[in-house]
């Protein structure tokens, strides 16, 4: 027992100090640009941009390796902010926002395998092993990870319809007097 306690303590202390020293000497100065860019990204770590998470996407943006339009859920609004921070003039007039979607699980196909649940970065899926899962619509950010992982194709991505609370007037279309110059 003494031996066990002693050896564990030694292992702990050694590893701890190694980590501590490593942290001090190998620390990477975090780039303020990267930090700012990361702040502008949604932070939901959905990975739809092709990077593991928003942090990695910010690094790529800072290096100029990724276009400002990379963030699909962020849409035009985020693209504009990123371009502004990067001091770029991006022409986003042709950029269409992706239609927001949410996941729905077909209960007749769900086998309760937990795979989608493990993929979901916002804990929007509830369920237990061998039990049918459901998606909490309010928490779903439409990243499609569950859709891509479901072995029985039980997940579908549905369009979010505008309701009375979300609706707003569209920009007026100008009917001008002069059609030709």
């Amino acid at each position: 027992m003494l031996l066990a306690v002693g050896s564990l303590a030694v292992i702990g202390a050694t590893l701890g100090s190694v980590l501590g020293i490593a942290a001090r000497y190998l620390a990477v100065e975090s780039d303020p640009l990267e930090k700012d860019l990361q702040e502008l990204l949604p932070g939901s770590q959905c990975g739809q941009c092709g990077y593991v998470g928003c942090g990695q996407a910010a690094v790529a943006l800072a290096k100029g390796e990724a276009p400002v339009t990379l963030c699909i859920p962020g849409g035009k609004a985020v693209a504009e902010k990123l371009a502004k921070r990067l001091g770029m003039a991006a022409d986003l007039s042709g950029h269409k926002d992706a239609e927001p979607v949410y996941a729905v699980i077909d209960e007749s196909k769900c086998i309760g395998c937990l795979r989608c649940l493990n993929e979901c970065s916002t804990d929007a899926i509830i369920g237990a092993p061998k039990q049918i899962h459901t998606v909490l619509v309010d928490n779903c950010h439409g990243c499609s990870k569950c859709y891509n992982t479901c072995p029985t194709l039980a997940v579908s991505m549905n369009k979010i319809n505008v309701n009375l609370n979300d609706w707003h007037w569209q920009k007026p279309k100008l009917r001008t007097k002069r059609t030709k110059h």
């Binding site: 027992m1 003494l2 031996l3 066990a4 050896s7 564990l8 292992i11 949604p42 932070g43 939901s44 770590q45 609004a77 970065s121 916002t122 804990d123 929007a124 309010d138 928490n139 950010h141 505008v162 309701n163 009375l164 979300d166 609706w167 707003h168 007037w169 569209q170 920009k171 007026p172 100008l174 009917r175 001008t176 007097k177």
Partner: protein
């Protein structure tokens, strides 16, 4: 009493003569009533009845849901035939859950709460509760639940302003209510003042309603705390902040409410509804609305059960003039009302008028370039610079439009009205405000999702650590056991009497 000058505003053609002299008539009970679950600002109500249920007049059909909401009661006795998605009386034309009630023609009251015998001795909280129960909302059009406004008592207001300005062209329903039911309005206002704990009531009426001013002055005569104040005819005088300025001289800072400067504003029709809820235990199940516009055979002021279809009302007014569909069908006034998606939509609590306007009344023309005449700047009652805001919005620069105050715009439409180039200014601002609010909602959702992601990551990290620790302990235990066995073997080998390791700690303690 002295009134105060209010900057800006316009003097449109009021066209009230069409209905100003027409006494309120009650609509015969329609064959069908459709009651949308959201007739008020806030969350939709939640049905407590299902299809097939027989109800009596005044029975609860849907209960409020969430902090800002209002219940819906049966406007008459009959049978709930369906709860289904129907086109809402909303410019979007989107569908909304609606309770469909088929009246049985008996108009039998159900069980009602007892009248509050002496409201002026009642606990204000009792009046709040009654008004909340009755589902009363601001009947001037905004449809904000009135009981919540009573809660402004906590801000210790000192003046209740009763809004009888009715500054929108065409509308005359408040005018008629004041002419025909002045005593009830004054009584309602006094009950409201008691509930709010204020001592002074100012009833503001534009001078283009002389009959209403006379009737209200007579009704208020016995009460020194109630003062009727004729105010200049100037659109948008009925806007809360501007009305407050006109009768009290107090300016509401941008981004604040009138209650922050001690003033609560209620509409005259709301005061009457409050009286009925308190004195008789009646919920809000009908309202008075104006039907007008040159597109109608005759203009009328009608007392309508909530849920009445617009098509039935038009028929009651003799149909469209010469059977020709009007150029535009509007719910509310011509300045701040909104187009209706069809005739098959119901009257809801916030509907103050239905206008059938002809081409000649609208004067719609294609937009020209801004000539920088400054007209819009001089009429804006909020002191904004519409031409600049519109220019920013046109170039999708909402951020800058926000900086110069587009969110303070009350959408009165004065700028659009005055603009010689017919630029759809207020339409730009409605769009911008909607879009900015949507961005706010997105941002809030995003923040919430971020929180969820962070929570999940923290949990994963903890799990991973716990696993690693468990593995390390298991490994160490194994090692220790191996060492112990080795030691035991060694001890046995040298034949030295050594205490078993397990007992050592005790011995040393």
């Amino acid at each position: 009493m002295k009134t105060f000058h209010v900057e800006g505003g316009i003097h449109p053609e009021y066209r009230k003569e069409r209905t100003q002299e027409n006494a309120i008539v009650a609509l015969p009970m329609p064959k069908i009533l459709c009651l949308p679950l959201k007739q008020h600002a806030g969350a939709p109500a939640e049905p407590v009845v299902s299809s097939g249920k027989r109800v009596k007049k005044g029975d609860l059909l849907a209960k409020p849901q969430g902090a800002v909401s209002a219940p819906i009661h049966a406007p008459t006795s009959g049978t709930v035939v369906d709860i289904t998605d129907m086109t809402a009386p909303h410019p979007s034309g989107l569908a909304q859950k609606t309770i469909v009630l088929r009246p049985d023609g008996k108009d039998e009251w159900g069980a009602l709460p007892p009248p509050i015998e002496n409201p002026f001795a009642a606990d204000p909280a009792e009046i709040d509760a009654r008004v909340g129960w009755a589902g009363i909302v601001g009947l001037g059009g905004a449809a904000f639940p009135s009981a919540i406004k009573f809660g402004l008592r906590s801000k210790k207001p000192d003046i209740l302003v009763l809004n009888g300005a009715e500054c929108e062209p065409y509308l005359t329903c408040d005018d008629r209510i004041m002419q025909e039911h002045a005593d009830e309005v004054v009584d309602g206002a006094r009950i409201m003042a008691h509930a709010l704990g204020v001592s002074q009531i100012l009833i503001a009426i534009e001078t283009n309603k002389p009959a209403a001013i006379v009737a209200m002055t007579v009704a208020a005569a016995g009460y020194p705390a109630v003062v009727v104040m004729p105010i200049p005819v100037q659109y948008p005088m009925g806007s809360e902040k501007h009305l407050t300025k006109a009768v009290t001289g107090r300016e509401t800072p941008a981004g604040k409410m009138t209650a922050d400067i001690g003033v609560v504003v209620h509409n005259v029709a709301t005061a009457r509804a409050v009286r009925e809820a308190v004195r008789f235990g009646w919920p809000l199940i009908s309202r008075v609305i104006t039907l007008s516009g040159a597109g109608l055979t005759r203009g009328m002021n009608i007392k309508v059960p909530l849920g009445t279809m617009v098509v039935d009302l038009i028929e009651f007014c003799g149909g469209f003039k010469d059977g020709i569909a009007p150029q535009r069908l509007i719910s509310g006034g011509p300045m701040m009302g909104h187009p209706l998606p069809s005739l098959d939509v119901p009257v809801i609590k916030g509907t103050c008028g239905i206008l059938a306007l002809t081409k000649a009344e609208i004067n719609e023309q294609p937009a020209g370039p801004c000539i920088r005449c400054g007209g819009c700047v001089s009429v804006c009652p909020c002191g904004l610079v519409p031409l600049e805001m519109a220019a920013f919005i046109r170039h999708d620069n909402l951020e800058q439009a926000e900086q110069i105050g587009v969110r303070d715009c009350v959408s009165c439409g004065s700028c659009s009205y005055i603009c010689p180039s017919h630029i759809p200014l207020v339409q730009y601002f409605n769009y911008a405000k909607g879009k900015l609010n949507a961005a706010d909602r997105d941002h809030r959702k995003q923040e919430r999702l971020k929180g969820l992601v962070e929570g999940r990551m923290a949990r994963m990290e903890k799990q991973r650590k716990a696993k690693a620790e468990a593995a390390a302990t298991a490994a160490a235990a194994k090692k220790a056991q191996a060492a112990a066995t080795a030691a035991a073997a060694a001890a046995a080998g040298t034949a030295t009497a050594a205490a078993p390791p397990t007992e050592t700690p005790k011995a040393s303690a």
